[in-house]
Symmetry: none
Subunit: 236 residues, 2 copies
DNA sequence: AAGTGGTCTAGACCACTTG
DNA sequence: AAGTGGTCTAGACCACTTG
């Protein structure tokens, strides 16, 4: 049997996600208890518990001993750091944006990538490489791995016309994202693409994006440190 | 019995943290397996497993089926969404923090600084320079200009004992902050302080902080890009 | 072949909240 | 008093890595 079995706790998680996504369970709805889920899905209480626990860690549910498990309040995290379309950002600065599509292919996943995207190692993953320009200067290299199950028609797009962010927003709306920001030296190929010296420090953002159905993409955004910065405004 | 019992998995987690913190288990060291820990602590395998699992989620360990559990490569990470005390961040990673106070003086303000701090050019401004260490490696240089009117006793502090963030939080609680993040090459003095090559890219955060009474400080935080990163987790 | 982590079971006792 | 989540046990089978 080449088929990889889906874990039982995953099936329960998916079911709960679907109920929330479809709107059947709204904010503060009571979610079935561990015992009830265990019986419904014919699993042990520990397995039902794991599903609830993981969704709680992901922020979809809140739990209270004695009281029960409930659908969490959606935080519209007041755009402290929002994920914006780079084309919009550039236009808002009053500048011209254009993009070159350097790659758009299907690739095999390695172990790490499989874990980050939440796919099996046997699956294919789509990969795009887009270079963004601000007033004809290269400003950001966007390398993106995309979950082929969630976005099956990714390879048919033209990312000189529409940014991957725009396309993905329409196909699998963002529900969650993580960013990791580092200062790095780019490899020689990236330096050529960005038209910078090899000694120029770059800001690199590794961003994972989720829709309600799971991890949509892993984007690696590289920008010359002397032309690009990130900002945030926080209030308490 | 008023005593609250410490959970067994917490005891195991604490033990592992201590071994990492003390340096007995360095990066990539093999950590005892679930079975070994279960026997050592006289608990079931599931309980030992939980300790390893939670530390893995916290990023202290990495696990590989069939191969074992290992101490993770440590790359310090700060959140972009909250302003935290660096000493707390380091302790939460199970590491040791200490600090050197390199400067603590009164300085004249130049034009730009006066505008950023919202003070008149005739006023004095306090300046501190503190080098933060994680497990005896320099991890961040904190240069901070402080509004002398709002925090008159800043110069009387000892920032080897208490971080500027802690002191300022008690004197003039944060109500607002802005961050600007860049990738830069540090100047030669900073490179010496951080013990890095001049070609090492650094993450630099320029942070202005407000209390209810106005701008409290401008902090310039510089960290080696290969040891430090920023992170954020957004939900929509 | 032996050891490792991943999943799962069918129980147990407990602290806590609710009607 | 009944239901809920929190912790824990002593087993089981499996997929995977290593010597």
């Amino acid at each position: 049997m080449a088929q990889v079995k889906t874990a039982k706790f995953t099936i329960i998680k998916d079911h709960i996600c679907k109920m929330i996504e479809s709107g059947e369970w709204v904010q503060h709805s009571k979610v079935p208890s561990e015992n009830v889920l265990a019986e419904q899905f014919s699993v042990s209480r520990m397995t039902a518990r794991r599903a609830l626990q993981e969704l709680t860690e992901q922020g979809l549910l809140v739990r209270s001993q004695g009281a029960g498990t409930f659908v969490a309040t959606f935080k519209s995290q007041s755009s402290l750091l929002e994920i914006r379309n780079i084309a919009d950002e550039i236009h808002d600065r009053g500048h011209q944006h254009h993009a070159l599509q350097l790659e758009l292919i299907s690739v095999d996943v390695n172990n790490e990538l499989a874990i980050l995207l939440g796919v099996k190692e046997s699956e294919k993953v789509y990969y795009s490489e887009v270079l963004h320009f601000e007033n004809n200067e290269p400003i950001q290299l966007e390398q993106r791995y995309v979950n082929s199950t969630l976005v099956p028609e990714y390879l048919q797009q033209n990312f000189a016309q529409i940014t991957p962010h725009e396309y993905l927003s329409s196909e699998a709306p963002l529900t969650e994202a993580t960013n990791e920001v580092e200062a790095i030296l780019a490899n020689s190929e990236t330096c050529l693409q960005l038209n910078i010296e090899s000694s120029t420090p770059c800001l690199q953002v590794k961003r994972r994006t989720w829709s309600s159905k799971g991890v949509v993409s892993l984007a690696i955004l590289t920008a010359p440190g002397n032309k690009y910065r990130l900002g945030s405004h926080l209030t308490f």
